[in-house]
Amino acid sequence: MRRRWLKGERLITLLLLLPSVIAVAVFVYGFIGWTGYVSMSNWNQLLPDYTFVGLRNFFKLFAHPRFQIDLRNLAVFTALFLTGSLAIGFLLAVLLDRKVRGEGFFRTIYLYPMSLSFIVTGVVWRWLMNPGSPQMGSTGINLLLEKLGLGFLKSGWYTDPRVGIKAVAVAAIWQMSGYVMAMYLAGLRGIPEELREAARVDGASEWQVYRYVILPLLRPITLGAIIILGHISLKIYDLIVAMTGPGIGFSTDVPAYFMWETTFHANRFAQGAAIAVILLLMVSLLIVPYLIFSVRREAEV
């Protein structure tokens, strides 16, 4: 009687879950804990040194000029990437929702960039945004501008420290706005026509219909998109590697890239771990409220 709860289906369920529970416990949470431990150690050469130094690595990091630039870059990138992707994605979704002819065709075109990896996107946009020079001639966007007679608009793009990370954000927006469009399109299709009709009957203009009816109804989708894009943005690394590298004066550097370099080139394993912990905290600031929100909602249902 006593061990009844371990009998039958419960036992099988438990056994079936156990391998993945153990794997996740070790390979996800175990390694997170390990990284946290290393970030407070003195491991700053190849040979591990686990002397506890408290938060020294973190203080050093925040005083590091390169890390300060990285955080600023990350903030600019995230802001541009989120607003850009959401705005363009929403616009495309609204346009496609107009039951245009060839909707399937356009939908596919807009969605395609998402199927590429950031590495491919990075390489392509590196070429497109190649600054060129008067002597060797222009390529990509600058060549296009030249041909259109808009030569004064030519720019150094990602090689210009004043543009830097913003150029990378353009590439990221190009890649992910189609995905946001797909999410919004699904959301729009889920809104019954009657609601819009009712608003129109009440005398709302088309703008007001979107502002006061559609957008509030799409809020869960916006939230989901922000979560997904936000964590991609905070962890961005591959796009930087393929497209620009850290750039002149670290104008396109991000914490993830710095983490790689400081760990495996400067042998500052503890400092690298500290950057990883900071990235994790930033992502969890974004994700945890969402998780709490959705768990609570599930409980209500």
């Binding site: 700053n44 050469q45 190849l46 040979l47 591990p48 000029p65 390169r66 590196r126 190649n130 600054p131 060129g132 020079s133 008067p134 002597q135 060797m136 150094g156 990602y158 090689t159 420290p161 590298g245 850290p246 750039g247 002149i248 004066g249 670290f250 104008s251 790689w260 370099e261 400081t262 760990t263 495996f264 080139h265 400067a266 042998n267 500052r268």
Partner: protein, 502 residues
């Protein structure tokens, strides 16, 4: 006379048969039943060499069943058995490095995993030439070419470190000569090669400056295969002839040329910085010009303060150069920048002498070279070495590899293809003639000049310092803040010297 040439001819035939028959040594048919130790005593003069004969014979027997398979060291050797007695140096090295707790190393065969970042063009050809030579000597061993692409080993080094910590290293891997070895914690992860240097006589044939560079904590950790020079100014002869210019000897001349060419619409000076290290490479050569050989060397030992006048001056020069560079330098790697010269659109560039090999591969012949302004008589050197990790899975196979790397034969085959000069300085005039014009002039300079270690290529400083140095220069490209950058350099030096003093 006739008799003499006959003897020489015989000697050549014997030598040649050694080479073509694999590992240097000779065949030995046992006259009467005996033991390995007795044979070792008789042929090599010491019973202690028995394991070396066992290994060499077993390696042979893998390809040729006529050789005896020796199962154990104390196995009775029957009369008429065919054995292979290795050359004395090899036997000595084997006994010095063989761990008696690893009897599996007495049987030959297996793999040789060689880690390097030589994947492209001449460097890959050079590596293959070394493989071919190794294959001739040790046909029983299967070579695994474990390369990872990425300039200056940028990616390779990041991959090899976790493998070392995890105890899963390749059998041997590429490493810059100098303080870069500190980044691998060699006392824990690498085997000191002092004994091998002694047995092979390399301390006699390698230049003293290089030997000093190779010593870390009193030991040799890598066998050098080549020397590259970092402080070379390359220029397009067509442009120089058109405007009646001569290569600049100092920075004033350099900037006069820049001014003139800029007015003509030519890019006076080209560089790339896509890899993030190229500008720091340039800055390193400027430091040499303003501080001189001793002053520059002192920067890395704490004898020259980083707050000194020469460093300020070097930063000012770098700042001024930025007024004359190609506008797209942030998007180009050094070879991309070289395209300006090939197209006769850019006049000068400063880069290491691997540029020479790349120009040749591009079929571009209209280039000239000179030392970086103000560095005549100084040779900013870097060298690639191969090391022996402590936990190498096939250490004896790796030992053979290191011997090929250190041999004249290996160095000539490798360097003529890679476009660098041999680390050994005992080449005959005929052997030197196998190298191209640039490399011959480079060999002469190397023998004559003061040699200083390159920092950005791992020779002069520990890796964390190199990273800070590189980052400071990279930031300078955007800020152009001389005082602030010099302060950052001073701080980096203080931190690094403190860490090295530990």
């Amino acid at each position: 006379m006739w008799r003499k040439s006959y003897l020489v001819g015989l000697l050549v035939v014997v030598l040649f048969s050694w080479l073509s028959w694999g590992q240097a040594g000779y065949e030995y048919v046992v006259p009467a039943a005996t033991t390995l130790e007795a044979i070792a005593q008789e042929t090599l003069g010491d019973a202690a060499y028995a394991p070396a004969i066992m290994r060499a014979t077993n390696a042979k027997s893998l390809a040729d069943p006529a050789y005896l398979k020796i199962r154990t060291l104390d196995m009775a050797i029957p009369a008429g058995a065919k054995l292979w007695v290795p050359e004395r140096a090899w036997a000595e090295a084997f006994v010095a490095f063989w761990d008696p707790n690893r009897p599996e190393d007495l049987f030959g065969g297996g793999k040789l995993v060689v880690g390097s970042w030589w994947t492209a063009g001449g460097e890959a050809e050079g590596l293959n030439a070394l493989f071919e030579i190794y294959d001739e000597y040790y046909p029983d061993v299967q070579i695994v070419n474990a390369t990872i692409a990425g300039g200056a080993g940028f990616v390779f080094r990041a991959v090899i470190k976790p493998r070392l910590i995890a105890g899963d290293p390749p059998d041997t891997f590429q490493l810059h000569a100098g303080l870069e070895v500190e980044g691998y914690s060699p006392e824990t992860y690498l085997t000191p090669l002092d004994k091998l240097f002694e047995i092979m006589g390399w301390t006699e044939v390698l230049p003293k400056d290089l030997l000093d560079l190779l010593l870390y904590k009193g030991h040799f950790w890598g066998v050098p295969v080549n020397i590259h020079r970092a402080n070379v100014l390359w220029y397009d002869k067509a442009i120089f002839e058109k405007y009646g210019l001569t290569p600049p000897e100092n920075w004033d001349e350099f900037f006069a040329i820049c001014e003139k060419l800029k007015a003509e619409g030519v890019v006076p000076f080209v560089m790339g910085n896509a890899g993030g290290w190229e500008a720091a490479h340039l800055f390193e050569t400027i430091l040499i010009s303003t501080l001189g050989a001793e002053g520059y060397k002192g920067l890395w030992t704490g004898e020259t303060p980083w707050s000194s006048e020469g460093v300020t001056e070097a930063l000012e020069i770098l700042k001024k150069i930025l007024d004359y560079v190609n506008p797209d330098y942030a998007a180009l790697s050094w070879d991309g920048a070289g395209e300006y010269l090939i197209a006769h659109k850019g006049a000068m560039m400063i880069m290491g002498d691997w540029t020479n090999g790349w120009f040749m591969a591009k079929g571009y012949e209209d280039y000239g070279w000179a030392p970086v302004p103000g560095t005549r008589g100084i040779f900013d050197a870097l060298s690639d070495t191969f090391c022996l990790p402590k936990r190498a899975p096939n250490p004896i196979n790796a030992l053979g590899w290191l011997m090929v790397c250190g041999s004249k034969e290996g160095q000539i085959a490798f360097n003529t293809r890679k476009g660098s000069i041999p680390a050994r300085t005992d080449l005959t005039a005929e052997e030197k003639a196998q190298f191209n014009a640039y490399l011959q002039s480079c060999m002469d300079d190397f023998a004559r000049d003061a040699i200083v270690p390159s920092v950005i290529h791992g020779a002069a400083a520990i890796e964390s310092w190199v990273t800070d140095f590189k980052d400071a220069v990279n930031l300078f490209l955007a800020t152009k803040d001389v005082a602030g950058t010099q302060r950052a350099l001073v701080e980096a030096a203080e931190a690094a010297l403190a860490a090295m003093g530990q």
